[in-house]
Each structure stands twice: as C-alpha cells, then as structure tokens.
Symmetry: C3
Subunit: 485 residues, 3 copies
Amino acid sequence: VIYFVQIYANTNMRLKLPITCFILEIILIILFGVLVEYDEETDAKKWHHSNHSQYDNDFYYRYPSFQDVHVMIFIGFGFLMTFLQRYGFSSVGFNFLIAAFALQWATLMQGFFHGMHGGKIHVGVESMINADFCTGSVLISFGAVLGKTSPVQLLVMAVFEVTLFAVNEFILLSILGTKDAGGSMTIHTFGAYFGLMVTRVLYRPNLDKSKHKNSSVYHSDLFAMIGTLYLWMFWPSFNSAITAHGDDQHRTALNTYYSLAACTLSTYAMSALTAHDGKLDMVHIQNAALAGGVAAGTAGEMMLTPFGSMIVGFLAGIISVLGYKYLSPILESKLKIQDTCGIHNLHGMPGVMGAIVGAVTASLATIEIYGNGMEEVFPDVADNKRTASYQGAIQAISLAVTLGFALVGGLLVGFIMKLPIFGAPSDASCFEDSIYWEVSSKKLLDTSKLCICPQPKKHCNYTVGKSRGPVDHCEDRRVRKARGD
Amino acid sequence: VIYFVQIYANTNMRLKLPITCFILEIILIILFGVLVEYDEETDAKKWHHSNHSQYDNDFYYRYPSFQDVHVMIFIGFGFLMTFLQRYGFSSVGFNFLIAAFALQWATLMQGFFHGMHGGKIHVGVESMINADFCTGSVLISFGAVLGKTSPVQLLVMAVFEVTLFAVNEFILLSILGTKDAGGSMTIHTFGAYFGLMVTRVLYRPNLDKSKHKNSSVYHSDLFAMIGTLYLWMFWPSFNSAITAHGDDQHRTALNTYYSLAACTLSTYAMSALTAHDGKLDMVHIQNAALAGGVAAGTAGEMMLTPFGSMIVGFLAGIISVLGYKYLSPILESKLKIQDTCGIHNLHGMPGVMGAIVGAVTASLATIEIYGNGMEEVFPDVADNKRTASYQGAIQAISLAVTLGFALVGGLLVGFIMKLPIFGAPSDASCFEDSIYWEVSSKKLLDTSKLCICPQPKKHCNYTVGKSRGPVDHCEDRRVRKARGD
Amino acid sequence: VIYFVQIYANTNMRLKLPITCFILEIILIILFGVLVEYDEETDAKKWHHSNHSQYDNDFYYRYPSFQDVHVMIFIGFGFLMTFLQRYGFSSVGFNFLIAAFALQWATLMQGFFHGMHGGKIHVGVESMINADFCTGSVLISFGAVLGKTSPVQLLVMAVFEVTLFAVNEFILLSILGTKDAGGSMTIHTFGAYFGLMVTRVLYRPNLDKSKHKNSSVYHSDLFAMIGTLYLWMFWPSFNSAITAHGDDQHRTALNTYYSLAACTLSTYAMSALTAHDGKLDMVHIQNAALAGGVAAGTAGEMMLTPFGSMIVGFLAGIISVLGYKYLSPILESKLKIQDTCGIHNLHGMPGVMGAIVGAVTASLATIEIYGNGMEEVFPDVADNKRTASYQGAIQAISLAVTLGFALVGGLLVGFIMKLPIFGAPSDASCFEDSIYWEVSSKKLLDTSKLCICPQPKKHCNYTVGKSRGPVDHCEDRRVRKARGD
C-alpha cells in the first residue's frame, strides 16, 4: 500500500495512470459481463420475435440525434477547451479519456437506477444518449478545474460524479416526475455547481505562478471556435434527443434553434458593450453564445413558443456575458473559486434560469394549449394525477434538490481529489501540456520570447529555407555596425 | 439623432454594435410574438389532433439534412473564410453573428411571402432549412466584402438582402413555378451578384494599404480546409434538403455527390496547369472544388443522371479555376470589383451555369423518363399546365429575374452600406482582426518580422524554456565576434 | 511517347497531374455514361411505378450513416494525417483528390462485380457507402506512403488498389459468403497490408535526409486530433452503415461504441506506461484509440455482446500501442518498411484481430442466441446451407485470401508506382508541401530556426506592430554592449 501511495504522490504518470485506467476498465468489463444485455431492439432474437416494421426500431428515431450529441461531447467540449495556449493536448485529450470512461460507467449507473429488467441492464440507442448526457455533466465540471488537475484526479472525479449524477437524475425523473429532457438541471446545473465546489476545495492561492499560461493565443482561439460552433449547431439535437417521438422532438429542436439564435445577438451586443474599448472578447463569443441552449434545456420540449424561446435565449446571453465580465473575478477573489472556463456563466446561471423557465412554463400548461399532446409532455397532468401548478412546483423543488446534490457532492469529491496521491500538478506547472505529454520544445513555441527582425523588409529579409546567404549578410551588417565599420 | 450619427461614424463598436444588435433582436422577438406559431407538426395539440404514425412528422425526413446544412452555414462558410492570416476571428465570428440574425429574419420574410396560414407564419423543420438557405445567400455576399466592412454594415446588408432574397424567391418558386431546390439561382447567383455589386459600390482605391494582410499563412489555410471539406461533404444534403420525399431526395443527393467528385478532379488538374510552376494553389482547392455543388443546385433533383452530373461538375471546376486565375484580376483592375473570396468564381459563374443546366434539363423532361415521378419534379408539366419546353423557358427567365434583383438590389444596398455611419474600417485596417476583437499583440504573431538564428543547429540551439544558458552563450559568441575576439 | 515520359519523369506536376486527372475523369465520365443508371430508389419512373411508403426508400435508413462515413473519409482520414509539420496541405489535399477519384472508380468496379442489373450498374445510397468504404481502403494505404509519393503516384495506386479491392470483396462477400460489414478484412486488413507492401517496394534507404520534417509541431497535432475524433465518433456509423435494417444496424453501432470506449482507456494506459518518462504520446492517442473500431469491424453486427466488444477494444488498444512503440521501429530497420502513419498498428494488426474475432464469433452462433435474426446475420446458417463452424472457417479463410490479395497486389502495384515516370519526390523533399503547393516562405515558419530574445521581458519587449522603437532600443543595447559601451 505504501508503495502505491508513493507511486501516486508523484506527478509522474508512468504507473498511476496505467494502473488507474486498467483497474477501471477491467471492473467495467466485468460488470458489463455480469449485468448488461441487449435490449429488445438490439438483440437479434428478441427483435425478430415479433412482427413489426424496421422503422419501429428506435435506432431510426434517435441515432442521428445521438451522433450529434456524440460530436458535442468529444469535439464540442474537447475543442471548446483548447483555447489555452499550452494546454491543447490536455484539453482535447483528457476530455477524450474522461468521456470514454464516463460513458461506460454512466451506462452502468443509469442502468442500475432506471434501466434494470429482470436483474439486467438493457442497452440501446437511448442508453447511449443518456450515457453521453451524463458524460457531458462531468465535462462541464472538468471545465472548472481545467489545467489544474491530473488525469488521475479527473478519473476519480468522474467515478463519483457519474454516480451522484445518476442518483440525482433518478430522484428527479423517476421519483419526482420532473421533466428535464435537455438537462438544464440534471446536466448543466448539476455539472456546474459540482465543478465549482470541486475547484473551491482545490483552491490554489499561488495560481498566479502559471497565470501567463492561463490565456489564449491566436490559433488556439480559432480551435476553440470549432468547439463552440459544434455545440451551438447541435444543441437542438441535444435537447431533443430523448424527448417523445413526433411533435416533441420536432418542437424541442425548433425552440432550441431560436433560443440560440437570439442568444448569439445578445452575446455580441453585451460583449462589445462591456469589453475593453468596444472590442469583442473571444471568451464571450465562445461561451456565452451557447447559454441559450442551456437555458432552453428544460422548457424546450414544452409549448414554450418561438417567442418565448427567443426571450429566454436573449436573456441567457446577457446574463452569461455579465457573469464573465463582473461575477467571475468576484468569485475568484472573494469566494476563492477559480473557474478556468467560466462554467458558472455558461452552465451554472443559465442552467438555473432554464430550470426556473421550465417550472414557470410547466405551471402554465393547459389542455387548451397541449391537447392530447399533454400525455407526452406532462403525463401526470394529463392523467389528472397532478395539476400543472403542482408540476411547476415539482420542477422548482427539483432545482433545489439538484443544487443540493451538486454542492454537497462536489464538496466531498473535492476533498477526495485533494488527497495527495493523485499526482496533482504544482502551481507553476498548471496550464502546461508538457508535464503530461511528450512535447518537443520546438512544439511549444513561446512567442513572447521571439526576436523581431530590426529592419524586416529592407536589409534583413530572412526567409525560411534561405538561412545561409541573407543571414550572414545581415549579421555582417549588424556586427559591422557594432564594430563601427 | 446627431448623437447617434456621431456614435455610428466612429469605427469603434462599443455603442453602435450593441444598439444595432439589441434593436434588431427586440424587433425580431416582437414580430415573432405577433406573427409566428408552431405548424401542424411541432404543435402538441395539432399534431395529436389526428391519428398518424410518428414518422409522418416531417422531422424524420428532413432533420438530418437540416443539421448538415446547419454545419455548412456555420462551420462551412465560417471556416472557409478563415484563410486570411489576421482575420480569422472576424471571419468565423461575424459569420456566426450575421447567420444567427439572418436565420431569424429570414423566417419572418420567407414566412410572410409563402408560409402564412390565417395571418400566422408557421414554423418547423422546413422553415428552418429555408431560413438557413437564405442565410447562406447572405454569407456568400459576405465573402465579397470580407475584411472591408464593419459588423454593423454586415447586419445592415443582411436586413436588406434577406428581404430581397425572399421577394425573388417568392417570384421564382411561387409565381413562376421555377424549380430550384438547391438554389443555383435563388441562393448562389443571387448571393454572388448581390455581393459583387455591394463590393463594387464600396470600392476602395487604396486597398493596397492592407494588401500584405490580404493573404493566408500556413495554418490559416488548414483552418480554411475544414470549411471547404464540410461544404463539400454536406452539399448532397444541401441540394436534397427540401426536395420531395423518396426518390427525389435520394436522387438529388446522388447527383450532387458525383458532380462534386468530378469537379474535384478538374479543379486539381486546372490548378496545377495554371498556377505558378506546376504547383497547386490552395485558393483553387478551397473554392473551385465546390463549384460542382453549386452547378448541380437546380438540376440535381431532375433526372440529370450521374453521367450528366459528372459533366456538369467537371466543367464547373474548370470554369471556376479559370475565373480565379484570369477573371478575378480583371474584375478588380477593370471593373473595380474587389472580391475578397472570389465568390464570382465559386458562386457566380457556377450558379449561372447551374441555372442554364437546369433550364436545359427541364426542357428535356418527358413522361418516358420521369413516369409518375413527373408530378413531384415538374407538377405543372405533369398536370399538362405547361410543356417541358415552357418549363425550361421559365427556368431561363428566372435566371434573368434573379440577376436583375441581385444587381439592382446590391447596388442600392451598397449605397446604404456606404453611408458613413456604420463604422467602416479605414483602408489600412482592412483584413485586421484587432480593430474589432481583443487580440493581444502576442496573439497575432507577424512571422515576417521574426529573426532566424544565424547558425541554427550548431552554435545557437535556442530552445524554448531554456532561454538563459544558450542565449547568453550565443549572444556572447556573436558579440564576441563583433568585438573581434 | 518519349515526350510524355520526359514530362512524367520530372517532379514538376504542371503537365502530368493535369493530364492524369483529365484522362482519368474523362474515362470515368464515359464509363458512367455507358454503364451507370439510377436504381429503383433514385429513378423517378421506377420508384413511382409501384405503391409504397416513402420511408421504404433506403435513403432514410442509410443516408445519415452515409454522411457520417463521408466525414470519416474526408475529414477523418484527411486531418488525421495533418500531424506532419510541413505536409498539412498534401495530407488533407491529396486525401481529398484521391478520395474524389477513388469513389467514382469504386462505383464502377464494385458495380461491375456485384451491382450489375441487365448490363447496367445501379447506384444509390448503398453504392455510395460501398464506394466510400473502398476509398477508405486506399486512404489507409496512403498512410503508409504519406510524404513520399507524388499525387500522380497516388492516383496510379488508387486505380489498381480499387480494382483489387473490388475483386477481393467480390470473392469474400459474393462467392464465399463471408460476413464483414465493417470491413475488418476487406477494408482494413486489405488496405494496410497492400500499403505496407507498396511502401516496402518504394523503400528509401536515405530517407533520413528529410527526417527532421517527419514529425509534428504543436498545432499540427491538434489538427490531427480533429481527424482522430471524427473517426472515433462516427465509427459506429461506419460499421453499421450497410448491415441489415433494424436490430442489426442498432446492435452494430452499439458494439462499436463500447469497443471504442474500452480501447481508449487501454490506449491511454499503454501510452503512459511505454512512452518516455510516463508522458502520453500524441501518436498513440491519435491512432491506437481507434483500433477498437477496426477490431469490431467484422463481429460488430454479430451477437458479440457489449462485454465481448469491450474485451475486443481493450485488447486492440494494447496491441496497437505496443505496435507503435516496439514493432514499427523493427519493421523499418529489419524489413525496410517505412510506414509513415503506422497503419500496421492501426489497421493491420487490429484488422487481423477483427477477422479472427469475427471467425470465432461466427463459429459460436446458435439459433438459441440469434433466433429468427439468424436469417439476417448468417443467412446460410439460417437456411441450413452451412453450419456455424463452417461459417467460422470461411471467415478465417477469407482473412487468408485478403492477406494474399493485399500482399501480392501491393507488391505488383508498388513496382508500377516505382517506375520513374510519376514524379516521385527526392529523398530530401519528402514530407514537404512546398514541392507540390504554392507556399510562401512566410507560410512555412521553421520554428527551429527562430531566435529567442535574449532578455525577453526586461530590455527587449518586442511586440508585433511596434517594431520601430523597442527594436532600435534593443539593438542599440546589444550593439552597444558589443562595442564595449
């Protein structure tokens, strides 16, 4: 044991990352062997047992949405975080690792809580989407601690966060009968406040030692825009991926589309208004423009109307930019919450807003508006088991439950992650790929240390590939000048 | 009023961008509130009013295509324009802003002209695709003025161009009964000639002041290839997104696929043939290889056959490269048309070609070839309301109408954009992100000003992170040499 | 003829690339005109001849998967190879050219062997997917010779490889009745061993002349991750694209998803374990994490179970990393196989493993497990034409046949490509874009030759855009020091 602790204390990953990955994956494989089986739509025998159209297979309803969600998880979240100048490998690479682990673990945890059939967990396209959703929550939390945690710490976080996510989701969706198809509460609020608590516990008073690396360079901001745009474009698929078939999926995608469009305009407006000298800030564009998707996560499947969706998106963009500009510095200085990606502004506040919008929209549901569609959106209201107001109250309570789980859970898991055995990087090596990745010195060009040619165009036309002649010429010139020739 | 004019005259965006965005979005929200409602397939009550399979919902026929189109609009157009070395933020960022605005405005304008139901505009997946299409047209025009206009000018352009687009589209599709599913005329020809007129009116005689920034660097060309490839891959979805269900969507995708493949080969051939010293030119590859998609925009849904599609694509690639090589310089020097992205070569000429191919293919339509499928491709011919030749003539007239709308519209809107209140950049600040975006000097590394180590490998092995030792050593060496040691 | 040979001997592409492209494309167009026609689902007349639901059109079953595969071919393979620091244009650009050619040629070759209907080749979404699959095989081979062949050589390779691919595929799928939906054998094993033989024949003993260019820089590794992730995310669509409708497509996607997730964890583990100083190696992450998709290519559609899929993926990741670390250097030093992308580790060994897994899984098939679904997975077993063991044996024989075709084919085609008329680059110009592309010296910044400011922060705060003042100051300082001031 002592030997293991020693291995794990070092920031070197040679043994502890392989050991952690192997143990986790072998446990996963064993549990999958014991617990998981194909559902009725993926099993050759069960599917062919009865007669039906191939289109009855849920694959055709949901697989395109699943692939869009999948892109959001791996490209969207992964590249959104590549904005850091020297942390691109870790951003996209650890995102990849954690997500690949979390989606397997989430399949088990979510299956355990609401997918058991005769002692077996059934899997199919819906479980794949749900697992990706749960993974998204972990990646949101990753955004808060980005640059400050080792991959082993992140895997530990994923183990516990996925578990708590599944419990909270079970309470909301299965016990309380909450509606939250796009996960304003279960995914965004939970992931954000969990991550904020974790980063609070992992507070580093001397993080300014690596402050110069906690910023972007020109091309890293363009890479991040790839992530932003994929999240933005596919958010309609995200929110509609597991809603009921037909009008529900259709309406949810439409609402989210309008919410995001309106959010984008208010984001640009607020960015120019608040940023230095009327210039737009890439941080706002990359993040706040997405808040409209978060805020439409709960109400998106309801009869929110395009009008309502646009108001929601419009306000979400404003709140998010204001958060980046004014709230984040306060959170860091007063509450000691170092939130690298500003997840509080992108997922936290818009998530809470989405939950409130969902509660209000639910409480206004009437049979005049929903008709027979009520059965699919609010089954308990349609069956007269509860009133719309009661449903709205349940939605509000669910927000409180989620916040409770996230904050307490993040606190506990933060302390576990703080144990000095997971190889956390030193303050000076934060935001630095080269402690985890093979990076030749050449690869990480530190542009701040480069010389600029004294007379670029006239005397010293150095061009790559012609190093010999002109360089000598130029050096001669400069040196001759020095010599006083 | 005078105060506002003053605000707007300055290139600083602090007030005029927020004011413009807020006013536009608030108008949009109000109009959506008054005019827009869910259609039969997105409304919970209406959809559940009658009995039908969930698959009857158009969502399942068109949503995957919509998402492909969506990627083309935001990633495709956005990244295609990131080829400029110092204008990547603006390329992808203004593309994002304009598109998010235009799709909302287009929903209203297109709905007003051909989607009204009892005084209300109905929205669903088809309106989303159509709005994205109209947005595409605006982004094509953006390509002509890229680097030379403020975001406020671009929003003003979008307001008017979307309106004129909707009028032209209404005349063609609803009044004349023109077929143009992939928009060779309505989208590409219109967007291109509109944009060319705008850039003609905004002609800058002293644009050579920023000429050195109007070019690419190595990585910016790779970013642009992301845009190119997404446009290329998803063009089959673009052209087939709103054709009739079944064979029509299937055939359109197939035709476009072959047209693009043939176009790619002729593009590479012509690029090597015409470019300097037999080398390929990234400008051609990034753009001309897409001309096959434009040129198959009208005839793609017809019985063009793979053979016909390949001929069309093959010729489109040739024309487009020749345009980049020989016509663009003439347009600039003789006609004073400064076309940053060469939209005349990618959208203008191939769009006209596509319209002509469509007219010819339509005029050759017979019941022997189309059978009962004639009803879906040429309903007026199937119903004996017009002959195929007449349909062909209508297609040709539609091209003329579109060119007229585009040229006159672009002229007028160009003069509006020229008003000195929208903060157009100076000649010297064109193609420069830093006037609109927070860009640290470090971010925009001007590689032309960098020194190259005199003896890179032998004496002066500077590596990042080891600045102390070797640098001193090297400086010593050089300085010692200067001293005559 | 002599004149042509002279043209082709030079590395300059001005004439030989255009001539090759034009001749190939014109031949393609003529053959398409003579041989290709729409199938029942893309032809207006045939489709409307009988009554059916629009959803019966295979377009709706397969088009979303086709687009995912399309992205893998053009973005996935294209960007995966952009890891080379000075070969990004060629990686993504030649990938684009070869793929655009190969998919047309594959349509003819595959159609000739198994798509003829009354003397005509029928095309539709299934032929598009199959053509993309065949193209994928050529791109795998491209990975082995990346950086060392001219585009004309690559087109020559594609002509022959596509032909041999189609023959081998015909023997396996049509004659032997082999199951290989995701192409562990037909695509990966074939493409890999074909490419390895080609690169063996093209062995360059003096390749170390361009060794310094055969590596990545920081941003090129990030571009490569775009390719990796798209391949990873869409692999479930790849393996399921042409399986039977319903449970088969669903199950195949699910199995592949789990195989890839498990593979990712073992890849990270093995990379940290084997790489220098416990650091992760981007080469492993970019490539080995995909081996799980390759290894699930044959058995993915079978009742492999999630448990089995994860074991397969887990082992594939381990084998692949070990291959990169230990086998590739041996292949190069002992067998003279210079495998630029390490396709043996990503496609070769995992492909063989996938074939074996498929043979074993097939031999274990029982009616208890498959029920009536047996008809779709193993029709010959369901019809009692062969036993499951016999099917397994056939699968194993198919692997041997594929290896034979690949090795002999690669050998022959390698010698054809070696003919000194296709403009192969010299040893010193390998891995270098500038011999094929217009690249300004400025574009290819050779970071190894850059100076670093002696006192970056204190005396010499050069920033771009302020070259005048500080530079003079700094130069003065240095020169003054030299003068002994």
